[in-house]
C-alpha cells in the first residue's frame, strides 16, 4: 500500500533529503499505525502535535490504530499557530 508522509515546520529535518522537502511516498504494510510511522522517522511523539489524515485531525487515541488506506496522506506539524 502506498501513502504520502509529510512533515512540516521544524519536523522537515526528520525527512531524508529529497526534491520535495516536505513529503515522501512510502510503501507500507496495511497494519502500520501513524505512531509507528512517527517513531520510524524518529519524530519525538510530543512534537507530533497536529496530525492530519487526508486533512482531517487524527485524535491521539487513533494514532495507534491501523487507519491507512491506499493513497492516503499523513501530514504532521509540531505545535504551531499564526494569524
Amino acid at each position: 500500500m502506498q501513502i504520502t508522509f509529510k512533515l512540516y515546520a521544524s519536523l522537515t529535518d526528520y525527512l531524508p533529503a529529497s526534491d520535495d522537502k516536505h513529503a515522501v511516498k512510502l510503501d507500507v504494510p496495511e497494519t502500520i499505525t501513524p505512531n509507528e510511522l512517527i517513531d520510524q522517522y524518529q519524530v519525538p511523539r510530543e512534537m507530533a502535535h497536529l496530525v492530519l489524515l487526508n486533512g482531517i485531525y487524527l485524535n491521539p487515541d487513533d494514532r495507534d490504530r491501523s487507519v491507512f488506506n491506499e493513497g492516503d496522506t499523513l501530514a504532521i506539524w509540531p505545535p504551531v499557530a499564526g494569524g
Binding site: 482531517i56 506539524w77 505545535p79 499564526g82
Partner: protein, 623 residues
C-alpha cells in the same frame, strides 16, 4: 496605575493642542486602547457622520501595559469610523511608536476636525506641535520617515505616517509606523489623510514608572515571559516560521481561499509558505527570509524581514527594493498569493513591500485584485479599463502592476482603491465581492472552518480574523481541539473568543500571547500595574461590554442584523476538494443561538437587560 492619565486633544481645524485628564471612570470600565478609545469615540461623535469628513475623529491610543516591561507591551490602536465599512474601525499595530507615545507621557491622542493644510504632529514629551507637512505630502511612507528623521536630527524618533495611497483616497489605506508595522485594516490611514494629517512623530523619554505594585508587576511579567518562552508555539514556532507556518496547514485542511474563493486549496501553497521563505532560492542561492524581528518588549518575535533576489523582475534596476524590509506574514501571503493564484514568492514580497511603502492593507488589496481578476476573466472589465494590462489569475506581473498603481493612485489603481465591494458593484458583479460589511475576508475559508463563518458575519469591523480567532481551537487545538467541520458549540466558542480578545486588545498586549496565555496569565500583570481589581472575570466582563458598545455604535451607524451575513459563494457553493468537500458554511445554524447567548434580540440588537447589565446607555439606537 499604568495609565499616564493624560489625553492629548488635537483640533486640526483650529490648530489647537490641549491636555486633559483621562476619564478614570471609563478606564475602569473599558481598560484602555480599543475599549477606552471606542468609548471616547462613541461619546464624542455621531455614528452617522461622514467617515472622511471633519466630524469624524481619529484616536491613536495605547493600553495600560503599553511601554511597560510586560512581554509584547508595545501595542497601540487607531480607533475611528471606517470609510471602507461605515462602521467602527479599530486597527492595532506593534512596532515601537505605541511605547514611545506612552513614554512621552500620553495615553491617547484624539484628532478632530480637518487641517486646512498638510501638517504633522511632533511630540517630544510635553512639547507638542503641529508643523507644516507640505514637503511631506506626496511622499511615500519610507520617504516621509527618512525626511522626518533628518529634519529633527533624532535617530530615535518614532514615526507613524500615511503613504500616497491614502492621499489618493484608497479606502483601505493604513497607517504605517516604524517603516513596516501597520494599523492596517479598515482604512484608518484614509481617515488620517482626509484630515490633512500626514504623520505623527514622537520622542518620549519619561519612561513608564507609574505602576501600582512595581514588585508584583515584575514578578507577574517575569512569570508571563516564562510561560511564553516554554510554550512550543510562542517560544519556538512563531520565532522560527512566523505566522506563515499556517500556509501549508490551512491548505492541507482545505480552507485556503483560492482565486477569489472559488476554490479551497492552492496548488502553489508550498511555494509561498513559511518553510519556502527559509529555503535558498535557485536563482541566487539565498533565502527570501533574512531574519525574524520583534516589536517593543516582545519575547516572541514573530515578524518577518525579507530580501528579494536582485535579479527578480519586480526589482530589476530598482536598488531601493534590494535591502531587507518587512516580509510576508500569512495574511499578506495568502491575499497576494493564493487568492490571486500567484505562487511567485518574491513577487508577493515586492507587492508587500509596496503595501508598506505606500500604506495600504495587503488583505483588502489582494482581495480586491482577486475580485478584479475574476471581473476581467468574466469580461466585466477589459484592457480598456486596465489600460492594456491582462489582469489574470496566476500572473505575478499583473499583481506587481496592481500594487504599483494602487500605491500611487494612478489609472485603474483608483478603481482598485475602492475595495472589493465597491469595485464589484461598479462593474455589475456584486456577487464577486468576498466581503462582510465592505471589508475583505482574511485567510480562512469558513466552509472548512465553520466557526470562522460566524466570526466573519458578526465581527464588529467587518470581515476579520482578529476579532475571534477560532482557528486556534478548530484547527490548531489551542486551548483545546474542536471539529472545524461542525457548527455545534461554535456560537459559544465565538462569543468567548470575541470577549477575551476585546480585553486583550484593550491592554497594550499582543493577541498572539493568547496562544500561550489565558486571561489567568494576563490578569495578574494588569492587576499589578493598574488601579482597581483586575481579575480574569472582570476582564471578560470588560470585553463583553466593549463588544456590545461596538455593536451599538454600528447599529446607530445604520447596520442591522441583516448585515450579519456572508457572500452567497460561501453559503451556496460547496467546497470542491479537501475535507470540506460538499460543505457550505452553516451560518444559519449558528447565528440565532449566537444572538441568544449574547443577550440580543432575534434581530441582533442588545436587549435592555443586556445593556443594563453591562452599564451601557447608547445614543441613537432603539431601546
Amino acid at each position: 496605575m499604568a495609565w499616564t492619565r493624560n489625553v492629548l486633544r488635537v483640533n486640526l481645524t483650529k490648530g489647537s493642542i490641549t491636555n486633559e485628564p483621562l476619564n478614570m471612570k471609563w478606564a475602569n470600565d473599558y481598560l484602555g486602547q480599543r475599549g477606552l478609545a471606542t468609548k471616547y469615540l462613541v461619546e464624542e461623535t455621531d455614528p452617522k457622520c461622514d467617515p472622511l469628513g471633519p466630524d469624524n475623529k481619529m484616536i491613536m491610543t495605547t493600553g495600560p501595559l503599553t511601554g511597560t516591561m510586560a512581554s509584547t507591551g508595545g501595542r497601540y490602536s487607531v480607533v475611528t469610523k471606517s470609510p471602507l465599512t461605515g462602521v467602527i474601525a479599530c486597527s492595532n499595530s506593534g512596532g515601537f511608536i505605541g511605547a514611545e507615545i506612552k513614554n512621552a507621557g500620553w495615553d491617547m491622542i484624539i484628532f478632530e476636525g480637518k487641517s486646512p493644510k498638510p501638517v504633522y504632529l511632533y511630540i517630544e514629551d510635553d512639547k507638542v506641535e503641529l508643523l507644516p507637512a507640505d514637503d511631506l505630502w506626496g511622499k511615500s511612507v519610507w520617504e516621509a520617515d527618512e525626511m522626518l528623521h533628518k529634519k529633527h536630527q533624532d535617530p530615535l524618533l518614532r514615526v507613524a505616517t500615511v503613504g500616497r495611497s491614502a492621499e489618493a483616497g484608497c479606502l483601505y489605506s493604513g497607517i504605517i509606523n516604524d517603516l513596516h508595522r501597520a494599523a492596517g485594516r479598515s482604512g484608518v490611514g484614509t481617515v488620517m489623510a482626509s484630515k490633512n494629517l500626514k504623520a505623527v512623530a514622537v520622542r518620549g523619554t519619561k519612561g513608564v514608572s507609574n505602576i501600582k505594585d512595581p514588585a508584583g508587576f515584575m514578578k507577574a511579567t517575569q512569570e508571563g515571559k516564562k510561560v511564553l518562552a516554554e510554550n512550543a508555539v510562542t517560544g519556538q514556532g512563531l520565532p522560527a516560521l512566523g505566522t506563515q507556518v499556517l500556509m501549508n496547514v490551512i491548505n492541507e485542511i482545505g480552507a485556503m481561499p483560492t482565486r477569489n474563493w472559488r476554490e479551497v486549496q492552492f496548488e502553489g501553497a508550498s511555494k509561498i509558505s513559511g518553510e519556502a521563505m527559509k529555503e535558498p532560492r535557485p536563482s541566487d542561492g539565498r533565502p527570501n527570509l533574512t531574519t525574524n524581528a520583534g516589536c517593543f518588549g516582545c519575547t516572541i518575535a514573530c515578524g518577518r524581514i525579507s530580501t528579494i533576489d536582485k535579479g527578480h523582475f519586480t526589482v530589476d534596476n530598482k536598488p531601493e527594493y534590494w535591502g531587507a524590509s518587512g516580509g510576508l506574514e500569512y495574511e499578506a501571503a495568502w491575499a497576494l498569493g493564493s487568492d490571486c493564484g500567484v505562487d511567485d514568492l518574491d513577487a508577493l514580497t515586492y507587492a508587500n513591500f509596496l503595501c508598506n511603502e505606500d500604506g495600504f492593507d495587503p488583505i483588502d488589496f489582494g482581495s480586491t485584485v482577486a475580485a478584479a481578476m475574476e471581473l476581467f476573466e468574466s469580461g466585466a472589465i477589459t484592457t480598456k479599463e486596465t489600460g492594456g494590462v491582462e489582469l489574470r489569475f496566476g500572473d505575478p506581473k499583473a499583481l506587481a502592476w496592481a500594487a504599483e498603481v494602487v500605491a500611487r493612485g494612478e489609472g485603474f489603481g483608483k478603481d482598485l482603491g475602492l475595495g472589493s465591494q465597491r469595485l464589484c458593484e461598479k462593474y455589475g458583479k456584486p456577487e464577486f465581492s468576498m466581503t462582510v460589511k465592505g471589508q475583505a475576508f482574511p485567510a480562512y475559508d469558513p466552509r472548512g472552518i465553520q466557526g470562522m463563518g460566524l466570526t466573519y458575519a458578526t465581527s464588529n469591523r467587518g470581515a476579520c480574523h482578529l476579532r475571534s480567532y477560532t482557528v486556534s481551537s478548530e484547527v490548531l487545538g489551542i486551548p483545546e481541539k474542536t471539529d472545524p467541520l461542525v457548527t455545534d458549540g461554535k456560537p459559544e466558542l465565538v462569543k468567548a473568543f470575541q470577549d477575551a480578545t476585546a480585553a486583550v486588545d484593550s491592554s497594550g498586549l499582543c493577541v498572539f500571547t493568547a496562544f500561550a496565555w489565558t486571561l489567568e496569565d494576563i490578569s495578574p500583570q494588569i492587576d499589578a500595574a493598574c488601579e482597581g481589581d483586575w481579575t480574569a472575570d472582570k476582564l471578560l466582563e470588560v470585553g463583553e461590554r466593549i463588544w456590545n458598545m461596538e455593536r451599538d455604535y454600528n447599529l446607530a451607524a445604520g447596520i442591522t442584523g441583516k448585515d450579519d451575513t456572508l457572500p452567497k459563494r460561501l453559503l451556496k457553493d460547496a467546497a470542491k476538494t479537501g475535507p470540506a468537500t460538499g460543505k457550505v458554511n452553516g451560518l444559519a445554524e449558528m447565528l440565532p443561538h449566537y444572538y441568544e447567548i449574547r443577550g440580543w434580540t432575534k434581530d441582533g440588537v442588545p436587549t435592555p437587560d443586556t445593556r443594563k447589565r453591562l452599564g451601557l446607555n447608547p445614543k441613537g439606537v432603539a431601546a
